[in-house]
C-alpha cells in the first residue's frame, strides 16, 4: 500500500511535467492547426539554457527565470523565421520540416555544449527530503515540481477563461477562420500562443534538469507522451491536457510498477520478466485507444 502511494506521487509528478509540455503543444495544435514535432526540443533547450544560466548567474533561480524567458524568445524566433511559412502548408510538410528542426537543433546542441550529459544542481532551499515511508525519503524538490505544475495550470485556467486573450484563444481553437473574419490580428494571437507554449516547455526543461540527465535529444521521448496527452485530452483544451497528463503519468508509473507484480503472480519468473515490461510500456497506448474508441475527439474537445 505504501508502495502504491509513493508510485501515485511519482505518477502525478510525471503528469505535471507532461502537462507543462502538453499545454503549449495543445494550444499550438488546436489554435494554429500546426503540427509542431519540434516542441520537445524547446524542453531540451530550456534544460541546457538553465544549466548555462545557472552557472553564469550563480544559482538555480536565476537560471530558471532567464532560461524560461530565453527559451520562449527562441521559440518565438523560430516561429517568425520558419514556422510562419508552414501554417498554410499541408500537415505532411509541417511534420517533415519540424522533424528536420529536431535533428538540426539536437546536433547544434551537441556542437555548442558537447555530447556529454550535463549536471544541474538542485536549489539549496529545496534540496532536502522527508521521511515518506520506512526506509524511503522523498525529495522536497519533487513536491515543488508538482506545486509548480499546479500553479501553472491554475494560472493558465485564469488566462484562458477570464482574459480577453484567453477568450480569443478559445475562439481560435473552435473556429479560427471566424475569429479572423471578425477582425482579430490572428498572426499576433498565434505569436502569443507560440511564445507562451515555448516558454512553458522551456520552464519544464529547467525544472526537470536536476532530476534527469541533461543530454541532446532528451525531449524526443517526452514529445511522444505529450502527443498522447493532447490526443486523450482533446486537441486545444487546457483542461483536457491537465486531466490527460495526470492520467498518463499515473497509468504509466503505476502500470509499470503493478503489472510486473501482477504478471509475477500469474506467470513464471522468467516469463513475467519478459511479459511485464512489454505490457507496461504498451499500457498508455491501450488506454489512449480505449478512450478514443469511446470519445473520438478526446475527453474535453475544444470544438463543440
Amino acid at each position: 500500500m505504501t508502495l502504491f502511494i509513493v508510485q501515485a506521487l511519482n505518477g502525478i509528478q510525471l503528469g505535471m511535467l507532461l502537462f507543462l509540455i502538453a499545454a503549449g503543444l495543445t494550444l499550438v495544435f488546436g489554435v494554429m492547426k500546426f503540427v509542431n514535432l519540434a516542441h520537445g526540443v524547446q524542453y531540451m533547450i530550456g534544460a541546457y539554457l538553465g544549466v548555462t544560466f545557472a552557472g553564469w548567474a550563480g544559482g538555480f533561480w536565476a537560471g530558471l527565470l532567464l532560461a524560461s524567458v530565453v527559451a520562449g524568445a527562441f521559440g518565438l524566433a523560430l516561429d517568425v523565421v520558419i514556422y510562419r511559412h508552414l501554417y498554410r502548408r499541408s500537415e505532411l510538410d509541417q511534420v517533415l520540416a519540424t522533424f528536420g528542426i529536431i535533428i538540426t537543433l539536437n546536433e547544434v546542441t551537441r556542437l555548442l555544449w558537447g555530447s556529454n550529459p550535463l549536471d544541474m544542481k538542485m536549489p539549496e532551499l529545496l534540496s532536502g527530503s522527508f521521511q515518506l515511508v520506512e526506509g524511503l525519503r522523498y525529495p522536497i524538490y519533487r513536491i515543488a515540481v508538482m506545486a509548480a505544475g499546479l500553479a501553472v495550470a491554475g494560472g493558465l485556467a485564469v488566462v484562458v477563461n477570464r482574459t480577453r486573450v484567453g477568450m480569443l484563444i478559445r475562439a481560435g481553437a473552435s473556429n479560427g477562420a471566424m475569429v479572423e473574419g471578425l477582425g482579430v490580428d490572428i498572426g499576433r494571437l498565434f505569436r502569443i500562443v507560440f511564445g507562451m507554449g515555448a516558454m512553458l516547455a522551456g520552464f519544464a526543461g529547467v525544472l526537470a534538469a536536476p532530476l534527469v540527465s541533461v543530454e541532446p535529444g532528451m525531449g524526443d521521448n517526452l514529445l511522444i507522451l505529450a502527443f498522447v496527452v493532447i490526443v486523450i485530452g482533446g486537441v486545444g483544451s487546457i483542461r483536457g491536457a491537465f486531466v490527460a497528463a495526470c492520467l498518463v503519468g499515473l497509468v504509466d508509473t503505476l502500470g509499470r510498477s503493478l503489472i510486473t507484480d501482477l504478471s509475477h503472480a500469474a506467470l513464471s519468473a522468467t516469463t513475467s520478466a519478459r511479459v511485464g515490461p512489454a505490457v507496461a510500456s504498451m499500457l498508455i497506448y491501450l488506454v489512449m485507444a480505449l478512450i478514443l474508441a469511446i470519445r473520438p475527439t478526446g475527453l474535453f474537445p475544444a470544438r463543440a
Partner: protein, 385 residues
C-alpha cells in the same frame, strides 16, 4: 624526347609513391560519434590517437594514415561506410566499433578485404565462440565479464538478496544473465525498464520496498545518471549499488557527487598502479581535458598492440602479423594481458568505487581484484581454421 622524359618522371614519381605507401600503415577507426552515445565513441577515438601520440606519431616505426568513420550506431550504414573505406585500397587495420550491434555486420567486409578487425570495446559472445575469426581480435573483454565481476563480488560478500535493474533489450538481459552466472544468492527482482525512461523514481520506490542487501544495475548513459542522482536523494545509500557501464568517467561529470561510493566492475581504472597506466592518464588528460574511461584505455592499448605486433612481424605481412598479434607484444595499461585461443583477452577484473580526486574531478578507483586471469566461457567453442 619531352614525352619520354615526362614519362620517365611519372614512372619515377609513381615508384616513389609506391615506396611511401608501402611504408605507411593504413588504419580506419569506426566508432559511434553522433547521437546520445557519442561520448563513448569519442573516448575510443581519443584513446587510439593518444596511443599513436605516445609512440611519436608512428606505429611499428611506420607513419599512420588514419581515417575516422562515424557509424551513427546504424548497422546498415556502418557496413556501407566500412565497405567503401576498405575497397578504396589496401587497409591494414580497422579499429572499432563501440557497440556489439555494429560489430557483427562489419566483421566479414573487413576481414574479407585482408585487413584485421580489432575491437577496442564490443565483445559479443557470438564472435567469441563458434563465430570466432582468425582476423578478429578483441582488446576489451567478452561482454559477460564486466557483469559477472559484480556477481562474484556479491557472492564473496555473502549478499543474500540482490535487486537487479537493466534496460529492456538484449544487452540488458545479457547483463543480468552475466551477473547471475556468478551470484549464488536470491534475486529479489529483475526489473527491466524502457531504454527511453528518464525518471527512475519508480524503481527506487521498489528497491526501498524490497529492502535488498545490494542492488545491481546496468543502466548506460542518461538512465544511469538519473538513477544515481535520484538514489542519493531517496536516502538509500546504505544499500550498496554494484554496476557496470553505469558510473564511469563518461557519465561521472554529469552524475556529480551523488555517484561517490557507487561500485562498478571493470578491467581498468584511472588510478591503476603501473607505469604504463600513469603515463597514459597523464598524457590523455593533458591533451583532451577529461578523465579517460575504460573505452579510452582499451583503445590506447589497441594502438600499442599494433605497434608491438608490426615491430615483431617486421612489416605488414598478414600471416606474420597475425602470429605477432596473438602474442600481444605490448605493455598494457591493465598490467597482465594476453589473448586466449579465440583472440579475446585473458585478464584480471576488479571492483572499482567512485571517488573524488584531490583536484575535484570524479573517477573510478580500484578497490580489490575479483577475478584473476579470467577467460570467457565461450572460448572453448572456438575453432580457428
Amino acid at each position: 624526347m619531352i614525352t619520354r622524359l615526362f614519362g620517365a618522371t611519372l614512372l619515377a614519381l609513381a615508384a616513389q609513391q609506391g615506396v611511401v605507401s608501402a611504408q605507411t600503415l593504413k588504419i580506419g577507426v569506426i566508432a559511434t560519434l553522433s547521437g546520445p552515445q557519442a561520448p563513448l565513441g569519442e573516448q575510443i577515438r581519443d584513446g587510439f590517437q593518444a596511443g599513436i601520440d605516445s609512440l611519436g606519431g608512428k606505429l611499428g616505426g611506420m607513419p599512420v594514415e588514419l581515417t575516422v568513420i562515424d557509424d551513427e550506431l546504424k548497422p546498415d550504414l556502418a557496413v556501407t561506410k566500412i565497405r567503401g573505406y576498405v575497397e578504396q585500397g589496401k587497409v591494414d587495420f580497422v579499429i572499432g566499433p563501440v557497440f556489439s550491434g555494429i560489430i557483427a555486420p562489419i566483421v566479414k567486409p573487413v576481414t574479407a578485404s585482408g585487413a584485421f578487425l580489432i575491437s577496442p570495446n564490443a565483445g559479443p559472445s557470438t564472435l567469441a565462440g563458434k563465430g570466432c575469426s582468425p582476423d578478429l581480435f578483441v582488446t576489451s573483454y567478452q561482454n559477460d565479464q564486466p557483469h559477472s565481476v559484480s556477481g562474484q563480488f556479491a557472492t564473496d560478500q555473502g549478499y543474500k538478496k540482490v535487486f537487479l535493474i537493466a534496460p529492456n533489450y538484449q544487452a540488458g538481459r545479457d547483463a543480468l544473465t552475466g551477473f547471475k552466472s556468478r551470484f549464488k544468492g536470491e534475486v529479489a527482482a529483475e526489473d527491466y525498464v524502457p531504454l527511453t525512461q528518464m525518471d527512475m523514481q519508480s524503481e527506487i520506490a521498489k528497491i526501498a520496498d524490497a529492502k535488498p542487501d545490494a542492488v545491481y544495475v546496468f543502466l548506460p548513459g542518461g538512465l544511469g545518471i538519473s538513477f544515481v542522482k535520484q538514489y542519493r536523494a531517496a536516502g538509500l545509500e546504505k544499500i550498496p549499488v554494484l554496476s557496470a557501464f553505469t558510473v564511469d568517467e563518461s557519465t561521472l561529470p554529469a552524475a556529480g557527487d551523488a555517484a561517490i561510493g557507487f561500485y562498478t566492475g571493470a578491467n581498468w581504472a584511472p588510478n591503476m598502479e603501473n607505469a604504463a597506466s600513469r603515463a597514459f592518464v597523464a598524457a590523455f588528460e593533458a591533451k583532451y581535458k577529461y578523465v579517460p574511461a575504460t573505452y579510452a584505455a582499451q583503445a590506447y592499448d589497441t594502438a600499442r598492440l599494433i605497434d608491438g605486433a608490426v615491430k615483431m612481424a617486421g612489416g605488414t605481412d598478414h600471416a606474420k602479423l597475425r602470429v605477432a598479434l596473438e602474442k600481444a607484444p605490448f605493455e598494457s595499461v591493465r598490467g597482465s594481458f594476453r589473448f586466449g585461443a579465440n583472440h579475446y583477452p585473458i585478464q584480471d577484473f576488479y571492483l572499482a568505487r567512485v571517488a573524488k580526486r584531490p583536484d575535484g574531478k570524479l573517477q573510478t578507483e580500484i578497490q580489490r581484484k575479483v577475478l584473476s586471469s579470467d577467460a570467457d566461457p565461450y572460448a572453448v567453442d572456438c575453432k580457428m581454421n
